[in-house]
Structures are given as C-alpha cells and as structure tokens.
Symmetry: none
Subunit: 189 residues, 4 copies
DNA sequence: TATGAATGAGACTTCATTCAT
DNA sequence: GATGAATGAAGTCTCATTCAT
C-alpha cells in the first residue's frame, strides 16, 4: 500500500471534490490547481498526467476505505454483525460510495493506464471479503445459503442499488437502514 | 412516445455502439459520422447538438426497452413468472443494460438538458413496475415481504450487480441464471 | 442597365432586408430562402454564389436609386433646387442610404468579384452628378466656389454625416432639414 | 482609461492590420496568431473571445487617438487653428481613420457586447469636441454660424467624406489639404 | 521545488454549395 | 425549373501539457 506525500493528499482531496461533483472532463487541471491553491505545473511535479492523478486518487480512496472497513470489522464476531457494520458504513458514507462508482466508469475509458487493473482488483477484494463473511455465516449456521457468492451479490447489490436510488432520483426515496435489516433477515431464512 | 426517422435511428445505432464502448467524451461527432457512413454536418441536420443526440438516444432506448419488457410480461400470470421473465430479459440483454447504466452517469453532467428529467422518470418507472409485481406476489401469497419496495430493491439490485460484476471484472464470474433462481427463492421464503 | 426577373427582384428584397439589418455573414442563404418562401437551391438557380447575389443586389439598388434621383432632378431648374431635391431625397430615404453604405463596406472584402468595380463606378457617378450641379450653380452665379468638387464634397459629406449621426448614436440627434438649409446657405456665401 | 499589457498591444497591432485590411470575418484567429508569431491559444489567454478582442482594440485605438488629438490641440489658441490641427491630423492619419470607420460597422453587429456603447460614446465625444471649438469660434467672432452643431457636422462630414473618397475610389482623387482650407474659409464667411 | 504563460491538437458546430429527385 | 437533404471545409474556442524562470 503506497504512502502518499502531504501535497499529493492535498491534491487528491481537491480533485476528488471537483471531479466527483462535476465529472472528469468537466474538471480541468486549472480548476484543481486553483481550488487547491497551488500552481498548475505543481500538479505535474507529482503526477505524470491527469489520468494518472485520477487513477492514483481512486486507488488511494479504495485502500483507505478498505482499511477503515477492516478496522471496523475487527470488533465484530458474528457474521451478521459484520454485515451490519459494513452496511451501516456504506449508508453513512453513501455519498462517497456513489462518487467512487461514478469514477470507476470514468476509469474504464482510460486506455494506457496500468493502474486500472489495480483498481478493479480492489473492487474484487471487496466482493471476496463479503463472500468470506457469507461463508462464516453459513458455518455458524446463521445464513441459509448454498453458494456464498450468491449471498454476496444479494447483499452488496441490494445495498448499492438502494443507495444509488436515493442518490439519483429523489422521489423513490427509501430508508436504507430498513433495507439493510430486510436483507439480513432474508439471508437468515 | 416520439417516433424517430430512419436516419435518426441509423445515427442512434452507430452512436450507441461507439459512446457506450468508448465513452461520451472519447467519441467525437466525426467518429460517429464516419462510422455511420455519413457526413459530419448530416448529424446536425437531425440533432441540435451532441448532447441532444445522446439524450434522445437514451430516451429512445429506454422506451424501446420498456415496450419490449411490457410485451413479454403480458404473457405471464404469476408474479414469480413475471420476475423470471424480467430477469431473463436482463440477462439476455446484459450488455445493453450495462451500457445504459454507463450512459446515465454521463447524462447527469448535462446541464441545460430538459430531457434529463425524462430519462430519470423512465428509470423510476422501471422500479415502480417491479414494485407492482412484488405487491401482486404478496397478494397471491407467494412472496414473503412486508414492504414491496424492499423486494424491488433486492431483485433489481442483485441482478444489476451480478450482471455488472460479470461485465466488469471477469475473474468474479458467476452464473446469472443461478442468481436469478436464488433471488426468487429468497423472495418466497 | 440590366433588367432583373421577378424572382430575382423578390430575392433581392428579402436579402436586402435581412443583410442590411443583421449583416452579410450573419445572414445565411437558408435565412433568405426561408424568408422569401422559396427553396435554398432556387437561389442558386439565379445567382452563382452568395457574393454574386449581394453584388447584383447592390448594383440594382444603386441604379434604381440613381434613376429616381434623375427623374426628380428633371423637374428642377436652379442648381440650388436640384441640391435641395437631392438632399431631401436622401433625408427621406436615410435608412436605405445608411444600409447601402454598410453594404459597400461588405463588398470591399469580396475578392474575385468583377461586379465590385461596377459598384464603385456608380458611387463615383453620384459624386460627378453633384459636381456638375455645383458647376451649374457657379455659372448661374449662385454658388461661391472655386472648385466644384470641393462643393460636392461639402454637400455630400455634411449630409451623409448628419444622417449617419442620427442613425447611429441617438443622443446627438439633429434636424437634417436644418442642416440641408445651412449647407445651401454656406454654398451661396 | 484601461492600460493594456505589452502582449495585448502586440495582438492589437497585428489584429488591427489584418482585420481593417481584410475584414472581421475574413480574418481568423489563426491568421492573427500566425502573423503575430504566437500560438492560437495565447490570444485566448488575453481575450475571452474574438469579439472581445476586437471591441477592446477599437476602444484602445479611439482612446489613444483622442489622447493625441487633445495633446495637439493644447498648443493652439484660435478656434481656426484648432480645427486646422484636427483636420491635418485626420489627413495624416487618414488610413487609420478610414479603418476605424470600417470597424465601427462591424461592431454594430456584435450582440452581447457591452463595450459597444462605450465605443459609440467615444465617437460622440469627438463630435462634441468639435462642437465646442465651433462655439469658441463663434464667441471669438471668427465663425459665422447660428448653430455650432451644424458647423461640426459640416467640418467633420466634409473631411471624412474627402478622405473616404480618396481611400475608396482612386479616380476621384482630390487634395484634402485644399478641402480643409476651403471648409475653414466657408465657416468664416 | 514551484509556477503559470505559452502552446497547438483537436473538439464542436456552421453554412455555402451541390445534386438527385 | 424548384427543392432541400447531404456534405465537409473551415472557424472558434478549450485544455492537457511543457518549460523557462
């Protein structure tokens, strides 16, 4: 896990706000530099290109997020608790999660960017983590599943969709906490 | 439901391929024109701007898709069958579905585009349709749900996520048909 | 003096309104065709190019204007009356005169247009006409001039400037009729 | 009176030559950049648009011209001398004057340009300056006028027309210095 | 190290002109 | 003769990137 310099973090934070809000192409290097209070050339001292900046930023965010998740999970014992913790973390950080999803779409159109693979690897890990929890739950006899991967899909898909739905079209609003409990209930029966 | 001219459909098809594959900003009007075998100016005979072209295209696709879905649903009676039909249609047209999702992200950054609302309205309708089926299933005593919207989130979320997962990172591949049956099973218990 | 077909005159009238109002480059062939109620291609049946259309139009207008002036002048005997008639005609048709001036600027930027010379020849004739009247006035002992061309410059320049001044910046408004009398008075003393 | 940077002046000078010679629409930003020996983008570092460049340029020229005129006028005492100085300055700078007139026509078709008003205000001031001189001449008992504005129209109109006539159609050529003396003579009688 | 003026490739869009009907 | 769909050259403007300071 690469460690970033303070200046790089500062650039990440500004770029994150702008790019996730307005979009990749709608945010110029000039915008970022001005908002970060630094010169345009300075950004190129730390990142080889705009694409590299964004790719690094996404990786940094995913890794930070994963770190936080793992820390939180450490306190839980039962599989159900672990899922609940993850779900609540997602609900709490819904905005960030949605923004990350948006950026992933952007990343897909990057052509000559090796970091891309790394990003998708991190996404995969997230799935595998949930899958592992499902397996635990099955062992503990709490989750009624034949295939833990199915459970992971159900859990992550339902939560993602709920949060995205709230984020996009306001009129369909729904309480994500209730959905979380509903999903946990369904996993158990 | 607006009817489009042949030429417009022809442009839609070419633009759809290119834009969903490479991305909105990565696809130029010149690309589209060349790929469609027409002149650059011709596109502007039919659409006032690149944004308008894409917005119209998305609406056209969503409406066409909805039409097909409704036709297929007409043949089913039980709520379970209806969901299965929808799920299978999504699996079959997974590529198109993923591409539509991608475009929706693009649309969000269109500023002065009234059609945007229309698009999100169509997305909402899809949810409400599934919600309605859930309600039917509850009445028929087949689905075990307290809130039909929760069921809709679970169904659409899980399926979307499964298809997206297959589409994005190959290594996590999973059989969507199995997931569909798993979800239907969970809805019933 | 070339005679134009009805359709050509119809095109002239529409084009004149639009081009003098909005400008040459700001008025498209499509605008003209639509406003004239004919097809775009039809204009090219009568004129080889947009430039040719405008050049012909200006010539036609200058010739028509000259014809009218000569007719009016036929009724006058004294040089002073002739100038007064010309001046009043200009005042009455000030808008058209200003518009003609504007178009002449446009014509200057036409490169490969033979008609251009013809237009400037017509402008010159107008000067020579007034010069001739000055000469008459000198012979009649009414105008106090050494060089009739100086008188022509003074008459045409003062009137043009007055009308242009009224046409452009409203706040400097001045009664052109009074100016006309003032000029005639000065020519006599 | 806004002060312009060296680079801006450099762009003004190149643009002035090209645009007054060939016309606004006939001169492209690329032409200007190439002729000025700078990059296309550089122009947009200093001016928001082509229209803004031209508007600023015209204002700059009018203000510079006015400044020069006022300086020269400072040395004269009699109203007649003042007019003679202005007239000779116009004769000397005839080319520039004609070019300014040409540009003013262009400016009229600029739509969303607040500077337009400013330009016409400067034009008006020029008139008022001459009008003031006329009033002085009347007080000094040198000019035989009832209305000073009439005198201003006569002076500026005749000189403008003479210079324009020389500038446009060569064959009507006339010595502007002689016309100047003629006008001054007429103003006195 | 930090900067921002300068750059030019390339995007979107317009419009005079052509030509098949 | 009349039309207007189709065209593509050319124009304005943006912005990632460079490099001298």
């Amino acid at each position: 896990m690469r460690v970033y310099k303070d200046k790089e973090i500062q650039i990440f934070e500004t770029a994150w706000e702008l790019i996730t809000e307005k979009g990749y192409h709608e945010t110029t290097i000039s915008h970022i530099a001005k908002a970060a209070g630094i010169g345009k050339g300075t950004i190129y001292e730390y990142f080889a290109s705009k694409e590299e900046l964004v790719a690094s930023m996404v990786i940094h965010n995913l890794e930070t997020q994963r770190q936080k998740t793992l820390e939180k999970l450490g306190k839980a014992v039962s599989a159900e608790d672990k899922l609940r913790i993850m779900g609540e973390a997602d609900i709490e950080g819904a905005l960030g999660l949605m923004r990350t999803m948006k950026l992933l779409q952007t990343l897909k159109s990057f052509d000559h960017c090796q970091v891309k693979e790394e990003v998708f690897e991190l996404m995969r890990e997230r799935y595998l983590l949930v899958e592992e929890i499902m397996r635990e739950g099955m062992t503990q006899g709490v989750f009624d599943l034949e295939n833990p991967r199915h459970g992971a899909m159900l859990f992550l898909g339902t939560m993602n969709n709920t949060l995205m739905s709230n984020h996009f079209g306001g009129s369909l609003s729904i309480d994500p906490q209730e959905v979380l409990e509903f999903v946990l209930h369904k996993l158990k029966t």
